[in-house]
Amino acid sequence: MSTLTTPPAAPGAGVSLLSRSLPRWAPAATLAGSAAVVAAVLVAVGAFGLAQWTVLSVLLFAVTITAASASVEGGRRAKDRLVTTLVYVCFGLAMIPLVSVLWTTVQNGVLRLDPYFLQTSMRNVLARDDAGGAYHAIMGTLIVTGWATVISVPVGLMTAIYLVEYGRGRLAQAITFFVDVMTGIPSIVAGLFIAALWLQLFGAGNFMGFAGSCALSVLMIPVVVRSSEEMLKLVPNELREASYALGVPKWRTIVKVVLPTSIAGVTTGVMIAIARIIGETAPLLVTAGFTDSINFNAFDSRMITLPVYVYRQISQGGQIPFERAWAAALTLIVIVMALNLLARLVSRIFAPRTGR
């Protein structure tokens, strides 16, 4: 490597190590400039609209910044700037549905969401009456989801324990694989399965809340298994070995050492799983059916939940059912978001302390 010995070029000899580049403020200035130009043109033509303005501004920005970069910095940098713009646009695109879903839900939901709505059922209320609420649906949601949780958590947690603590060989591999496959079962198929099972056991037309819970647990179990498995794996092996060394049986080690260490993560996983299934509509439509009355008994006759309520109201048509549907949707979203936030909070506060 003889180049090491050659003296570096003297400073100021006309050789710059830095290639020419656009100043740091160039993108911001270009964006502002294109927004202004497009706004001016649109107003002049008389076709100003938020959508057109945004789309055309971004287009003009992309063209300008790429052209400027190509002339100053060269083709490679220009391509880089173009891709950067594209990536930002993608993210902006994703924000549109999120913001508009939340916005329309809140905007339309507050029209009818009041204590009366939360405390009244639809019994003896005609679709177009300016009355009625979602009390029966809220109760149905809690009962159906509650039973689904009661079924899914023991099965899911025990399966996770089996996979992490005991599982070896073919059986464990098969279970892991099929849990993954089960995650992908369409919710309507889970509902149909339970409907078919109920048809076999009780004959036609036997809708009940518990059937809905069973259908939901088919969807919930794999989620619980997955998340609990991840959490159990985080428990350091030293803890298990310390317990074994003291002569504690394996099952007591699991119950007294492994589970308490990972309980926060497991709880978080369960809550996220609940949030996932609480919004399911299709499987309940074919298993629990729908009703206008309050029903607290999951093992007898039809039971309605909030998502099914939303769907029922929409399919009846008209302004008032429409408002009821949105109010119920807002209630549902509030419940789901609260569960999600609670889950994050639980996992943050009781995060498993790994190592020292």
């Binding site: 993608c90 993954d180 949707a329 994050r344």
Partner: protein, 327 residues
Amino acid sequence: MTTTQPPQTEQPAKPPPGRRTRRRPGDLVFENSARLSGVLILVILAAVAVFLLVQALPALSENQGNFLTDTEWAPSGDAPSFGVAALVFGTLLAAVLALVIATPVAVGIALFISHYAPRRLASLLGYVVDLLAAIPSVVYGLWGITWLMPQIGPFFEGLNRYLGFIPIFAGPVASPPRTILTASIVLAVMILPIVTAVAREVFLKTPTMHEEAALALGATRWEMIRMAVLPFGRSGVISAAMLGLGRALGETMAVAMVLSPGLLIDFFLLQAGHHQTIAALIALQFPEASTLQVSALIAAGLVLFAITLVVNMAARYIVSRRKEFTE
């Protein structure tokens, strides 16, 4: 995400032979109940297939038409005749369109979160995208009817006016636009979070050494992504897309609420009353169906189950193969 190799826990050393090998009853009970739970999952999955098949048989045996190739759906009366061809076509069309719309955007978002956004912001943005996944599907259906359809109508008109010479955009444009394209856009929004989440995980796992090596050679950020991140993440993105496809195939309520159904096999994306998906058909007809209709719907559900099973297993297979190569 998925692990097929056995977990890394150490089994306590077996007692040497000759000594007492009787196991504690508590251990036996606990281990067997854990194993039972695992086996129960396999049983459930098998039961799904078996019960769907058993309940589908009555309709299949009375079917006058060909179940796989017929397009009409009339499973009632004296001569019930029904086939899933049009339904399968509609299901695949909606899901594939959704995938075509969602995948590029999802890859863009994943790149934004993993390589463009400021580090502090990135995890927050990831959470925001996950929020999209937490919104119930029936709310998406409502949103599609209330917000999206009025916004998308003029856009479809424009599409038809300027690109109408391409057959898929042929008119007359439906108004309100209860078309397969609208349904696919709603589906695309719904599968965006899962595709993004998986792609993001893969992109974040790119070896830092590869990235730094590319940057050290003078690559721009895009060149670094093209040379280091994308080749590493390709199979991950493919499996993410497959997972999204599986999701879109089985999505029910949003399609049932947005799409105006029909049983044709064609590619007119802007016309209403041409397509229907299996899941939406089941949700719409099941509550008021007669015995034979229920049986026919269950047969359709069995087909849907088979399709999603194949797609998901393919996705898992790709994921597990990637694991062998890279880890």
